[in-house]
Amino acid sequence: MSTLAELDTEDDLVARARAAIEEVCDPEIPVLTIADLGVLRSVEVTADGEIEVAITPTYSGCPAMDVIGFDIKTALAKTGIDNARVRQVLSPAWTTDWMSEAGKAKLRAYGIAPPAGRASRRALFGEESIACSHCGSHETEKVSEFGSTACKALWRCKICREPFDYFKCI
């Protein structure tokens, strides 16, 4: 049986850990935190008193996962938590629907068009209408289905003529 005082401490520990972890940014899109992205799944204290952080990859081969794991441990170490474990979970599968509204606004401000609408097979095989992240026009065209990272595609605006990254909706 845990005493009330111990439980309090545990809650404090999780709160402290969570506050530190939520500041960790995606190494490839540094304007987004892993909480904004929906990559951070949970922060818990295990039976043996360790902090266990669960993260989920955006894509199966996302090369940022190792860096994110390292950054989480570094952020925790800075607040004095040295005994942390980072675990990868696949289920439920990450979807762009998990990206927070604040995250989408940050992406737009950074010059990346956020995922349009909800993820679905119909959306994937249907027509896409993406607003230009610079001028907001919908007169845009796809240049490349794949972009600088696994999660992005390259688009171009026909009005302002600027190319822009689009965070794919999956």
Partner: protein, 258 residues
């Protein structure tokens, strides 16, 4: 520090997971060879990204294989320390990249199969496979859309691109029969609800690719002969060269890490 191949007991579940993992690794390795060589920079990026998705899927699957085997091997042992005859991939994925048309045709044929497979495997009774499937399904659907659009562009393009796409289709079609083969080992995991029965999915697969081929003005070849053998470790000569390239470092410097 051993450089020799590993030996392990291949249960029906482990065999199934290796079939999926080896398909993904070998095709991912093949596609990665386009990096820096594709016809245009956008396609260079696309093929490298598809390769990355496949190698990511392979890692999840090899990691699961290591947990099933439970004798201390890791994902790397399964990737780097097995010989050709221990590899369980289908022959289609080990076929050479050829020209861009051949790579696109191979991608359409394989992605259409995996799109069906992963979608059904999301309902698997095996939780880990279902979780891997849920991730891979979205990626694979994107690969199918991308390669399908390219095949239409090539088939319905110039005389030259049409001829090359048709030639690739004629050549690679003979490797599609194997995708739908099941054997006694696989039967065990089909019956326990772990994996869908691919044997009965050939028609759905053909329905999926027919509209693409029609729009591409390409004809399905009448190929009575179908190659087979990959699932039981009888590979074409190509796999040995792939593994020599892929495994060299780990065989020469075992356990080397970055």
């Amino acid at each position: 520090m051993a450089t020799t191949s590993i030996s392990f007991t291949e249960t029906p579940l482990l065999n199934l997971v290796l079939r999926r993992a080896d398909d993904a690794l070998i095709l991912g390795h093949r596609l990665s060879k386009w990096c820096g060589h594709a016809p245009m920079v956008e396609e260079d990026i696309a093929l490298a990204n598809i390769a990355l998705d496949l190698i990511g899927q392979a890692r999840s699957l090899y990691d699961y294989a290591a947990r099933i085997d439970d004798s201390g091997f890791t994902e790397d042992h399964f990737a780097y320390r097995r010989d050709e005859h221990q590899y369980r991939n289908c022959l289609l994925v080990e076929q050479p990249n050829g020209d861009f048309a051949a790579t696109v045709v191979r991608q359409v044929l394989f992605s259409a199969f995996m799109d069906l497979y992963w979608r059904e495997t999301m309902k698997s009774r095996d939780e880990t496979l279902a979780a891997i499937a849920a991730k891979a399904e979205k990626e694979t659907a994107y690969h199918l859309r991308h390669s399908g659009e390219w095949l239409i562009r090539l088939g319905d393009g110039t005389d030259e691109s049409h001829a090359r796409a048709q030639e690739a289709l004629d050549e690679l079609w003979a490797y599609t029969g194997e995708l739908f083969e099941t054997d006694e080992t696989e039967r065990a995991v089909i019956e326990s609800g772990v994996t869908p029965d691919v044997g009965s999915r050939q028609e759905s697969w053909q329905k999926r690719i027919e509209p693409i081929l029609r729009e591409a003005t390409l004809k399905i070849p009448s190929a009575p002969f179908m190659h087979t053998g990959g699932r039981s470790g009888r590979h074409s000569e190509h796999l040995g060269y792939i593994l020599a390239d892929l495994q060299y470092l780990q065989r020469a410097h075992p356990e080397a890490v970055w």
